[in-house]
């Protein structure tokens, strides 16, 4: 069957339908097709029928043109539907399929659809949906591959980063061609992510793309390209070139990469940078690396520059010099060798002269930085600082106490630091008072107490009982509630007395006291909680029911019937019900065996 003429009829019908059937009567182009249709109609009657209907359209008038055109449409379409071509000429080659591992059990549409929407739309709440899906392993369903690829350009950078870091690398080389085909070196964040991904997935194949990006890419793509470079000599020359770039971010990325390279040329560039204006950039770019050679060079410069600081008269120039020293210290702290430690101690010994430097930043900033470096350097240097504790800036006293808490035995810690607490006659904000507050605050937080007075025992530091005695002696109620111990009779007595003190009854401290009593196993404490909750039901105005119900969740299993009784109280506000039920369940979960009984 020669269907070319039918296609011609269809395109004429289409043309007339688009223009409107009013132009169909007498249409010349359609009329021209009647003859060839009739000719073929001799062999295939259907063509004769088409010719007849075409004649009907051509011979129509304004009234019936539309109907006749539709008749022709239906007829031609139904014939053409039987004449569709299939197949594809040429050699059929294998598809290089991927290593995407699909789950045996595919994800249901109900789970997949919201996730697809989270990946392809905008709006809040999507990050959590995607995180949950990652944790559940849903992304191994291959239907999510393309939406995940699209999410690399998500307007919300955190989603794009999450997908680029945790999802897309798992698809491996399967997505390489897709990444490459959609990569635009002039593009922004999404394209920088693409480049990094291509490098992670296939470093060899992506090599040329990385090189091109270094020369033609946008700033973001160039930074990504720099991050993809390795330690070959070719890469080194690229990095050296980029370290001279105008854009600060590019130079920073180049310095970061150079810090990883253990060769003289890289070091030369870095040293030039720290001697020039880029010392801060180098210090910030090091990251978690330990560039030993650079540290050595920085130390050399510190040794030369610190003694000269005092002699600079111009305050601005002095401030610049101090900034440089701070940058060098920031580099040095990445690898604190014994030589560095020795230098730091020597510098600390001359703290008084450095303190005299009053520029912005000042000598005090240098001392503070040195103390912080020493504090983290070694046990010996911590011990050194403990011995020199009175010379330390008062603002660093809490850090020193925190380190000491880790490194000293409880008795020794108490012996060294207890003289600083509860200073007699000390004024507010005085150095003495600041040291006292630093110690008591750190002691309290060292017991792993958190919001709603829950305790994380894994974070609890052993401390000398002397601290508790001191707190009771000095009537420091908050420290006692946090430090109170089960076997310390004095603290139980103190807390019970305080609890009975009418002045405290409706105070916020009431909750803390009761919490401490429960923690140290005081038998009456549970009743206090129940009674308190009972008294709050039906009471108007603010009440911290949330805190008290939370406390109820720490009661013993024997108290569950009392709590259930409370739960069935018809006056119990609706919003309390759920929380109280959760508290009861928590008690049951914490006492599984006793619960079964």
């Amino acid at each position: 069957m020669s269907i070319a003429v039918l296609h011609e009829v269809y395109s004429e019908v289409r043309r007339l339908s688009v223009a409107g059937s009013v132009v169909a009567p007498g249409d010349f182009r359609l009329k021209k097709l009647v003859a060839p249709l009739k000719k073929t109609g001799g062999k295939a009657p259907i063509f004769a029928r088409v010719a007849e209907v075409v004649e009907g359209v051509v011979g129509s008038d304004e009234k019936n043109a539309a109907e006749r055109l539709l008749d022709l449409t239906s007829l031609v379409c139904s014939i053409l539907f039987t004449q569709g071509t299939t197949g594809a000429e040429g050699t059929l080659v294998d598809i290089v399929s991927s290593s995407v591992k699909t789950t045996k059990k595919q994800v249901s549409a109900r789970m997949l659809k919201p996730l697809m929407e989270a990946l392809t739309t905008k709006g809040s709440g999507r990050l959590e949906e995607i995180r949950t899906a990652i944790d559940l392993g849903l992304f191994s369903d291959l239907r999510l591959v393309r939406p995940a690829l699209g999410a690399i350009d998500d307007v919300y950078g955190e989603i794009a980063d999450l997908i680029a870091d945790r999802v897309l690398p798992t698809y491996g080389k399967a997505i390489y061609s897709e990444l490459k085909s959609s990569f635009d070196p002039k593009g922004k964040g999404g394209h920088a992510r693409r480049l990094k991904l291509m490098h992670v997935i296939d470093p060899d194949t992506s090599r040329e793309v990385v090189k091109d990006s270094l020369s033609t890419g946008s700033a973001e793509v160039k930074i990504a390209a720099i991050q993809c470079l390795g330690d070959s000599s070719e890469d080194l020359s690229y990095l050296i070139e980029q370290s001279k770039a105008k854009a600060k971010d590019l130079r920073g990325a180049a310095y970061h990469a150079l810090c990883k390279l253990p060769n003289a040329e890289a070091l030369e560039v870095l040293v030039k940078a720290i001697d020039g204006k880029d010392s801060e950039l180098v210090a910030r770019s090091i990251g978690k690396q330990k560039p030993a050679n650079l540290v050595a060079k920085s130390l050399e410069r510190l040794k030369l520059q610190i003694p000269l600081l005092g002699s600079i008269k111009d305050k601005n120039k002095q401030g610049d010099a101090v900034s440089k020293v701070l940058d060098l210290l920031a580099i040095v702290e990445h690898e604190v060798s014994p030589e560095v430690e020795k230098f730091m101690k020597e510098t600390f010994e001359s703290a008084s002269s450095i303190h005299k430097i009053k520029s912005t930043p000042s000598g005090a900033d240098i001392i503070e930085q040195i103390v912080l470096v020493l504090m983290r350097a070694s046990d010996a240097s911590t011990r050194y600082l403990i011995d020199r504790r009175d010379d330390l800036p008062v603002g660093l006293f809490r850090e020193l106490f925190e380190e000491s808490l880790e490194k000293l035995k409880p008795k020794e810690l108490f012996k060294i630091f207890s003289p600083y607490v509860y200073p007699k006659g000390a004024k507010k904000n005085s150095n003495e008072m600041q040291r006292h507050e630093a110690i008591t605050e750190e002691l309290r937080s060292s017991q792993g107490r958190y919001w709603m007075w829950t305790t994380d025992t894994s974070k609890k530091h052993p401390i000398d009982i002397g601290w508790l005695d001191l707190a009771i002696e000095n009537d420091d109620i908050f420290t006692v509630t946090d430090l109170a111990e089960t076997k310390h009779a004095k603290s139980a007595k103190y807390l019970n007395e305080k609890r009975a003190d009418k002045r405290l009854k409706d105070h916020e401290g009431d909750l803390e006291l009761t919490s401490a009593l429960i923690r140290i196993g005081q038998p009456d404490a549970a009743v206090l909680v129940i009674d308190k909750l009972k008294s709050m039901i039906g009471k108007k105005g603010y009440s911290n029911h949330y805190g008290w119900i939370n406390l109820a969740s720490r009661l013993d299993i024997e108290m569950v019937p009392r709590l259930e009784e409370l739960f069935s109280d018809p006056k119990l506000p609706k919003q309390w019900g759920d929380q109280l039920l959760d508290a009861i369940n928590t008690i049951r979960e914490n006492n599984p065996q006793r619960n079964e009984q």
């Binding site: 339908s17 539709l70 239906s74 379409c77 014939i79 399929s97 991927s98 393309r146 019900g577 039920l581």
Partner: protein
């Protein structure tokens, strides 16, 4: 014995939130009582809600193919999160359910359900009374609607597809409402499907559409006008026949009744003998899309009946306004054992429905049966597809099973080839109800590209005159690898 699992509960739930909330109730231990009857046909329990008294919920499996869910909570979702939670609690730990006597009020309700089912079965056997006067009145109204549709169609052709504009689209939509008033919801949807071609994603007339985009949709628009024209002709002839013979049952040889908007009842389908006993169905694909023309969400399941190898579809329509209260369907991974499968009149992929179903896990034999029933010859398959396509009111994008030798590339085009070397090109063009799937061929495991069964949706492109396929799934010897949703 109650045999349910997570996927059963998922499929019973009205939506994803209901499952999530039900699971939350179990996790929070909100169920204060968990019981099972001694004959193991019903689960019942108390679930603490926001009120002071717990909700009493139950899941009754006395009719395993059609469980009954009850709860005294005020939710309009069905089953509610409490019933779902109850089932999940049972799936997670059946031992937590203690044997107890079914409460009296619940027992009474159960008895009533059984009585109602018996009565329904009894009435189903009785001949249906037809109010002939009312039927004649309805048909006359439908004929009037057909006249409106005819006039509108002719007007559209007269004005020309290229002259479609926002004002005209508004006018058509207003007139389309009249078709709904004349008991022709199907015709109304067909008319709105034409205007929807020119709409944006929100369903408004897209006056920002580029010339090339408009040009690309003219063929589909013309095809749709052709369909409306055929609908008018066939619809009028069918309605006139019924007007002259009030005893004539709805047409069961062609889908014209459904095209006009006849909502087939299961009893009607049974009466018309459009059923299959003891069918076993495995879902091959599932999608849920927003039909702007119908103003409904449509959940479509593509199923294969394992004994015949025929492909059928399930459709659940959820009007926007009631979407929250109608159960959304979900992918179904088990085999549905259906005692009585009702089949709508139709061609290649008729719509199917059932009121009772018992699930069972699929076994390798099921996949073997699919493989055996799939077409092995592209030419023969194409012939039958073309034969179907030529009907003006037939399904224009039918789904078929094809056992292929290989899926590969010819240039940049993905191609599926049969044993004899006959080929079909793959495309996503013109089939937007499901997400694109052709490119996934690069991601599927290598062994799924050789000698497997393709679940393919066909489409004839009038502009290029090509018949191409969109891959929906690949059936291997042990699984259905879904490519769309």
């Amino acid at each position: 014995m109650i045999s349910i699992d997570d996927s059963f509960v998922d499929s019973a739930a009205p939506n994803a939130d209901a499952v999530k909330n039900g699971r939350g109730l179990v996790l929070k231990k909100k169920f204060v009582k968990l019981h099972i009857a001694d004959d193991e046909t019903i689960l019942f329990g108390d679930c603490q809600g926001s009120g002071s008294k717990p909700y009493q919920c139950s899941c009754d499996f006395i009719r395993p193919g059609s469980p009954t869910y009850r709860c005294n909570c005020p939710s309009r979702q069905f089953p509610c999160k409490h019933s779902i939670g109850l089932m999940l609690a049972y799936v997670q730990n059946a031992k937590a359910f203690s044997v107890a006597a079914v409460p009296e009020d619940l027992q009474n309700k159960r008895e009533k359900v059984v009585q109602r089912a018996e009565k329904k079965a009894e009435t189903a056997t009785q001949p249906k009374q037809v109010n002939k006067t009312a039927l004649a009145k309805k048909i006359k109204a439908q004929l009037e609607g057909i006249a409106i549709l005819e006039q509108l169609t002719l007007d559209l052709v007269k004005i020309g597809i290229g002259n479609m504009n926002a004002k005209l689209a508004d006018t058509i939509e207003t007139r389309a409402k009249q078709l709904g008033d004349t008991f022709l919801p199907g015709a109304q949807s067909a008319l709105l499907a034409y205007t929807t071609l020119f709409s944006d994603e929100q369903g408004r007339f897209n006056d920002q559409m580029s010339n090339s985009a408009r040009e690309a949709l003219y063929s589909d628009a013309l095809d749709q006008l052709g369909r409306l024209h055929s609908l008018v002709k066939q619809g009028r002839s069918y309605l006139e026949k019924r007007l002259n013979d009030p005893d004539l049952a709805p047409e069961k040889e062609s889908p014209i009744a459904a095209w006009l908007g006849h909502a087939w009842q299961l009893t009607e389908l049974r009466d018309a003998g459009l059923t299959q006993a003891n069918a076993e169905l495995l879902q091959l694909a599932f999608n849920s899309h927003d039909d702007l023309a119908r103003k409904e969400f449509v959940d479509t399941g593509i199923w294969v009946e394992l004994s015949t190898g025929k492909i059928a579809t399930t459709k659940t329509y959820r009007p926007y306004k009631a979407a929250k209260f109608i159960k959304s369907e979900d992918s179904f991974f088990q085999v549905a054992q259906v005692p009585t499968l009702c089949i709508y009149p139709g061609d290649m992929n008729p719509r199917i429905r059932w009121d009772e179903m018992v699930p069972r896990p699929p076994v390798e034999g099921d996949y073997k049966r699919i493989r055996e029933s799939a077409a092995v010859d592209v030419q023969a398959l194409v012939k039958s597809v073309k034969n179907n396509l030529k009907g003006p009111l037939s399904e224009k994008q039918p789904v078929c099973l094809l056992r292929f030798k290989k899926i590969g590339l010819v240039g940049d085009a993905f191609v599926v080839e049969d044993k004899a070397g006959n080929r079909l090109s793959m495309t996503d063009r013109g089939m937007s109800e499901e997400p694109s799937s052709v490119q996934l061929m690069r991601l599927v495991p290598q062994d799924t590209l050789i000698d497997q069964v393709l679940v393919a949706r066909f489409r004839h492109d009038l502009d290029s005159s090509k018949l191409e396929v969109k891959p929906l799934s690949i059936v291997t010897g042990s699984e259905v690898l879904r490519l769309t949703l």
